[in-house]
Structures are given as C-alpha cells and as structure tokens.
Amino acid sequence: MAIIEARGLTKRYGHVLAVDRLSFAVERGQVAGFLGPNGAGKTTTLRMLLGLVRPEAGDAAINGRAYSDLPDPLRQVGAVLEASSFHPGRTARNHLRIEAMVAGIDAARIDVVLDLVGLSEAADRRVRGFSLGMRQRLGLATALLADPEVLILDEPANGLDPEGVRWLRDLVRGLAAEGTAVLISSHILAEVAQTVDSVIIVNHGRVVVQAPIAELTATARLEDVFLGLTANSNGV
C-alpha cells in the first residue's frame, strides 16, 4: 500500500500552471527520486504534500490522511525543504528543543540526532554561523528527530561535501531498509541513480514518467533519460 500519494494535484500561480493534475505514489521502504528541471513544479508539489501550499484541485495523503489531519505529524513525516528555515540567532540545540517540545518527543533524542548528522560539536553555536552544509545537516536532524516513517527531502545534498553526500546516501538506504519511505528531490542525477529505487520525473507540472530506476537505466544513463524526457516541452 502506498504511504505517500498525490492524486491529481493542480496549482496555478497567476497565469502560470505550476502543477498540472500530478499523481504518483510511493510505497513503504521505497526511496523515490523526484526529478525535474527548474520550474517543473517539484517544490510546489512537495509543499502541497506537506500542507504548506493549498492545491486548487486534487489531494495528497500520507498514511491515508492529509498532512494537516495527521495527529503528531512530526512523528510520521520528516521533511527538509530549505536550508534557511532556522532562526539565525538560535542555537542548533535550541532549535531541536523547540521541535521536541512541540511534538512531545523525548529530549534525549536531540543528542542522538545531533550525533547522527555530525553536529554534536556545533550544537550550542548559533545557526547564523553555520555553513550551508551544516544547515542541511540540521534540517536532516530536525526531520529525523521523531524517527518518522516518511521522509520528504528537497535537495538535501545541497552544500554537503562528498563525504556528506555519501553519508546521506547510506542514511537514506539504511532508513529505507527499515521500512521508511523516502521521497527525495535532487538535481544530482548520478547520486540519485545510486540512491533511489524508483524515479518520478516531472516537467511543466506533470509526471512524464514513474518507473523503477533499474528499468529506466537499463539501456541508458539516468542523465540521458532525464534530458530526453524533459527536452519535450509538452511532456511525454
């Protein structure tokens, strides 16, 4: 059974149709790559999944319910959407303490996730002084705080060094092996090819293909498949 579902999601900003009747599903224990060129509607779609943007038509469900109807949503869904969603004057630890407080999560988890993302030594520094990679790691710590069964990650590898990218890949694969569903948006196609089980490619707000990665890359590299599918402005 799908744990992440988008059904006919549609969103328009003024005259621009950002997302057009977009549907897909992600199963438990699956890592799905969510790919598309800039302006394809990926971020808007992820935000609709998370209840931050209201769709004009269609709906999205996680575990069968709209995000806004989830009891204790942080316990079910962890999300990394942008690297700047932290108050610059607050320390990493205090940011996580607020999240733990609001979600009713044991404060002992804070040190666990800080250690997991490699931020233990920087935990009591203000976020203002963090690099982009450190902010991404803090975002991941926030997402993992309640050990959720769904992860939604928008460009999580941005700013990470090669070691961090490898660490992220191992983390995602490890979580998926434990049953976590991961939807991951990225432009780093070589990395995506090594990480995901399936790929959803969107263009002009519509899904142009959803298929297992092995099937898509059986005869060509993911990059070539991607460029071939997104070069057609009308979609495939």
């Binding site: 949503p73 108050h87 407080m101």
Partner: protein
Amino acid sequence: MTRLIKGELFKLRTTRLPFGLFAAAAGLSALFSILEASRAGTKSVAPLSTAAGLNNVLTGGVLALLFAAVLGVTISSGEFRHETATTTYLATPKRSRVLIAKSVAGACGGAAFGFAGWLIATGVGLGFVAADGYTAQISDATLARYAAGHIAAGALMAAIGVGIGSLIRAQLAGVLGVFVWAVVIESVIGSMFNSIQPYLPYTAATTLAGSVLGGAAFGPAHGASSSASPLPFAAATALLAAIAIVISAIAARTTVVRDIS
C-alpha cells in the same frame, strides 16, 4: 496546546530580540519617569506632594506597553522574516492553533513588560517622593490596581501585536505601524475627538495602567484636557481583549491560511 505554548515561550527565551525590547522598554520607562519626576512642581506641572504629580511620574511606565505590542508583532512576523514559518507549520499544521499559542506566549511576555514598566516608574516616583521628604498621596491599593492594570494592558497589547504581525507579516512595517499609530495617530485623533479618545487602544491600555486620559499622549496632545472619562478597568480590559480577538480572527481567516512557498 500546552506543548505548543511551551514551545512558543521557549522561542522567546532563545533569541536576543525579546531581551533587547525588554531592555529598551525598561530603559525608556526609567528615563521618562525620571524626566517627569524632575519637572514636577515646575510651571503648571503638579508637584510630587500631590496625587496628580506622582501619577504623572507613574505614567512613564506605560511606555513599556508600546514595547509589549512590538514584542507581539515580532513574535508572529518573525516567522516570515526568518522564514521559520515552514518549520513551525510542519510541526503544527493547524495554523490557528499556532496563532493562539503565539498570542498566549506574547501575552505572558507582554505582562512581564507591563509589570517591569510599573515597577520602574513606581520605584522612581516613590524614590523622588521620599527624597523630597513628601508622603505618597497614592494609596497602596491604587498602586496595586496600577500594577494589575500594567500587567493586563501589557498582556493584551502584546496579543494585539501578535494579531497585527500575523496580518501584516512584514516585521518592519508592523513595528513602525505600532509606533505611528500610538505616537501620532492616537494623539491626533484623541485631541480632535475627545468622545472617542477613551476607546483608542493604546490610550485605553494607558488608562488601564493608571494614566489619566491624554496623559500618555505624545506632542501637543500630551496631557490635553479631555471632556471624556477613561474607561473603567473591566471595560478597558474587555475592549483590548476584543481588539486582540478581532485582529487575530481576521488574520486567521486571511493571511494565516496563505500558502507558505
């Protein structure tokens, strides 16, 4: 809701801005109280040996109410200034609950601002009275009522500020709006239309805190004689609470439900 309020209170304690606003409120309350005390008994200003003279000094503490409103504005608009609204609404997708929690947390902070304003102005006033060898002409019961008024007015002004910040979202515009409204618009309207002066929000907050009508106005309107009477304690409290609720309700129906993109 308790967890959410605790989280919002913790947010207040973990950034510098609320402490900076508190220090500004306390510093200006002290400055204005000392200035009022220093000019007591000169020209047409009542001396500190009278209730009116001491009351003028206590008015210096109502400046903290203005900063309580600013605190409220920063609590809600800060989520957009620092782009933390995404994280906040992911943790609590029911946005009206976030607004309520912010109002409660703001009210707690605002109450502390109001109490500090009262404490400083009362300390300055009684200190000058004692130094001049007078006996305070304001009873302990009245001083206690002023303390309650400062606390209630601070809490409600902060709650109003949270609503304004939610409605406007732009922090600088919200903060400037609060100052312009209280310092310029209320002073002008209050001096032109005496009958509605008691119902103006900042004026009502200051009279709730013990100031005479027009006593906390700025510029030529300061201390202008008014034919109207200040609202009774309960009525002023109800008015400010109603304003906070109406502004927050409008925000909850309009800006709060907007897309976070």
